[in-house]
């Protein structure tokens, strides 16, 4: 019954909100190191090579029409590789007054806001490739498994500074479970 109003509202909204994505007003995002791009690409390459090889197995074992499995996998990994720089550039975090804002993804956008007081622990971990590039990843863990704040590609010194900062702020804003 409120259909005309809704349509008008919709039209108005469509005008004022031209972008379809979740654009935000924040501009001063902290970005991850550009050195993370090769790290991510090497990881994708290794995994992609293994998966593609496995995908071609039916073809090599005599299933002539089976080539499309391996080829499809190869295509997916090539596209992933090509998009890696953009994807890495989309990762960002922002230390606001009371919470940590984290974003990632271009095709699948995700923004998370975690109050500092909800922190249960902070994890810094380094894989072999990331270590070769002097990078580390920082994980902010809350009581909810789905929070999923994982900031990759931080230079080690910065990751440690960020960790100490987060722990200090969490202590002053401590909240229960």
């Amino acid at each position: 019954m409120s259909e005309p109003i809704e349509q008008a509202e919709q039209a108005a909204r469509a005008e004022q909100a031209e972008p379809r994505s979740l654009t935000r007003s924040e501009t001063e995002w902290q970005r991850v190191s550009p050195r993370y791009i090769p790290v991510d690409m090497i990881g994708t390459l290794v995994f992609g090579a293994i998966a593609t090889t496995a995908g071609f197995l039916p073809f090599w074992f005599g299933w002539r029409e089976g080539w499309f499995i391996g080829a499809g996998l190869a295509l997916i990994f090539i596209i992933t590789l090509a998009l890696t720089p953009r994807r890495v550039r989309s990762i960002g975090y922002l230390l606001r007054d009371d919470d940590l804002l984290f974003r990632r993804g271009i095709m699948f956008q995700r923004f998370v806001a975690v109050p500092y007081g909800r922190m249960q622990l902070v994890d810094i971990s380094r894989g072999p490739i990331a270590r070769a590039f002097g990078l580390a990843e920082l994980k902010f863990v809350t009581a909810a498994a789905s929070s999923g704040v994982l900031i990759p590609g931080l230079p080690l010194a910065e990751a440690e500074r960020l960790r100490d900062h987060l722990v200090a702020v969490a202590e002053t804003r401590r909240a229960g479970l």
Partner: protein
């Protein structure tokens, strides 16, 4: 068989201490559990083993007295018969008997020793348990981290007046069980622990009503006859103490509704479908082999339904000063107290088949996992297995007193039954119809002063309430499909549980607004939250 006496003696010894409102368990000293604990824990298995032995030796015993033919030894295992024949032949019966008795004594000594070293204490800060003979364990739990206290009375211990108290803290397998205690002690101990945990000063509040009731109950226990009488009284007593909760704050289960709701559940439908399929199959093929194959499954399903009903009988939810108390069970009873602020989200939902009857169920997310199963046989997350709208209102008020206030009632009603934007709800825009075919006008949210309400589903209706003091984080997401429709989805993260609070197919601006508002409001709410010390002003 000596244990009832033992328990009775111990009870009479404890009787003089009764009139005190506080148990002396919470005095910070080490205490032992109920003397009959080994019997309840290992004894049942022990009796079962002896039973199996007797059944296996039955034929031999009969043969011994009646003198049957050797051909009749079909049931007795060959191994057993041979072993006994061997013993008789070699005249080792006496040795074997002595060895058996020795083993028995050793086992009893082991049980006794493990009871001796199993001790617990409750101080102002922690509850601590140590146990084990060879592998010692020591477990401490902070009182202000308690997520719930559960008192379970399995059928056999219940006959002896014993109960199991379990203190749960956040996390998997994070509970401190005290099994077993005397039933009245368990109730009093729970009250004391909650009092200590609540942050109230020790001498300040000591409700003597229950203490007096306990004393009266013990007072009647004179001799064995009196003791039996008292056991019977305990067994038949109403599951919920009248003194603990005000009658107007109690929600009870109607047995007819319970049976009806179980019959209208998915399990029953599967059962009926299986029966029909089976009948048709047998009628067509005339083959009975399938019946045998399906039989265990059918029995299992039927058993599940019966258990569900018997466990949920005498269900009650009540408000106490120290939180919500959920109790249920006919033969084995369980009741659990959830202190305030331990409920991370609440979901009111309605299975499709319950719709004509107007029944609803309520589930919660909580940080602890109790080892005790809930009323429906699953984890204790279903707080109200079935109830009508009045029950739902009352239970919401009990679970989230700061959210379900009088002013919030219309909003909650809208959340349960309503649709469209009435009452300030924000729903999906018309273009979301592609994704929410029937529920487009219902799919929405409302951010209240103390909670965020998420309303979904027109066919399977549900309302999720997440108190802002308990949200861990909030996320807004958009994939390619939502992007094409200029929509977004919002997830409110809470501790893991059956509820995943999320709302999809919102206008992207609404989604962003909800995200920002929840992020800001939850920071504010967490700052003013004192529920871990709920009685401390």
């Amino acid at each position: 068989m000596t244990d009832p006496h033992q328990a009775g003696d111990a009870r009479e010894q404890a009787a003089p201490a009764r009139p005190l409102a506080r148990t002396d368990f919470a005095d910070g000293e080490w205490h032992r559990l109920h003397p009959a604990t080994p019997l309840f824990r290992g004894g049942i298995a022990f009796v079962a083993i002896i039973g199996v032995l007797i059944v296996n030796l039955r034929d031999r015993l009969i043969a011994l007295f009646v003198g049957a033919d050797d051909d009749d030894f079909v049931n007795g295992g060959d191994l057993e018969s041979d072993a006994i024949d061997y013993l008789v032949r070699e005249q080792l019966v006496l040795v074997a008997l002595l060895a058996g008795i020795g083993l028995l004594l050793l086992i009893i000594a082991g049980f006794w020793l493990s009871w001796r070293v199993h001790m617990f204490r409750i101080t102002d800060e922690v509850v601590e348990v140590r146990s084990g003979i060879l592998f010692r364990t020591n477990r401490k739990a902070r009182l202000d981290r308690i997520q719930g206290i559960n008192i379970a009375r399995p059928f056999v211990p219940r006959l002896f007046g014993a109960a199991k108290l379990e203190i749960t803290v956040a996390g998997n397998d994070a509970s401190v069980p005290l099994a077993y205690l005397r039933g009245t002690d368990a109730d009093a101990l729970r009250r004391d622990i909650l009092l200590l945990a609540s942050g109230a000063q020790r001498p300040a509040a000591a409700p003597d009503a229950v203490g007096a009731a306990g004393a009266a109950a013990v007072g009647s226990g004179e001799g064995i006859g009196g003791m039996l009488e008292q056991r019977a009284a305990e067994l038949l007593a109403p599951e919920l103490d009248v003194e603990v909760a005000q009658p107007q704050s109690v929600v009870r289960m109607n047995p007819g509704r319970l049976i009806g709701s179980t019959l209208l559940s998915e399990t029953t439908i599967i059962l009926v479908a299986m029966l029909i399929a089976l009948t048709v199959f047998i009628a067509i093929t005339g083959e009975l082999g399938l019946l045998l194959a399906m039989f265990p499954g059918l029995i299992g399903l039927g058993g599940f339904l019966v258990t569900r009903i018997t466990r949920s009988l005498r269900y009650s939810i009540a408000s106490t000063p120290d939180g919500v108390r959920v109790g249920f069970g006919l033969l084995s009873t369980t009741n659990e107290t959830l202190p305030p602020g331990r409920i991370h989200s609440v979901k009111v939902s309605q299975p499709l088949l319950w719709r004509p009857a107007g029944w609803w169920q309520i589930a919660v997310n909580r940080a602890s996992r109790s080892s005790q199963n809930g009323a429906a046989g699953q984890q204790q997350t279903t707080i109200l297995p079935v109830g009508n709208l009045d029950d739902v209102r009352a239970v919401l008020r009990l679970l989230l007193p700061e959210v379900a206030t009088d002013e919030a009632t219309p909003a909650l009603e809208q959340g349960i039954l309503g649709r469209d934007v009435d009452g300030g709800w924000i729903v999906s825009p018309p273009r979301a119809r592609v994704l929410r075919w029937f529920s487009r006008r219902r799919n929405g949210y409302l951010l209240g002063p103390t909670a965020v309400l998420l309303r979904t589903g027109a066919i399977w209706r549900s309302l999720t309430v997440v108190p802002l003091t308990r949200t861990q984080s909030v996320a807004v997401r958009q994939g390619p499909v939502l992007r094409a429709l200029r929509l977004g989805e919002v997830h409110v993260h809470t501790v893991a549980g059956p509820i995943v609070p999320a709302i999809g197919a919102l206008d992207r601006l609404d989604a962003m607004r909800l995200f920002d508002d929840v992020a800001a409001a939850s920071v504010r709410a967490a700052r003013g939250d004192t529920s871990h010390r709920w009685r401390q002003a």
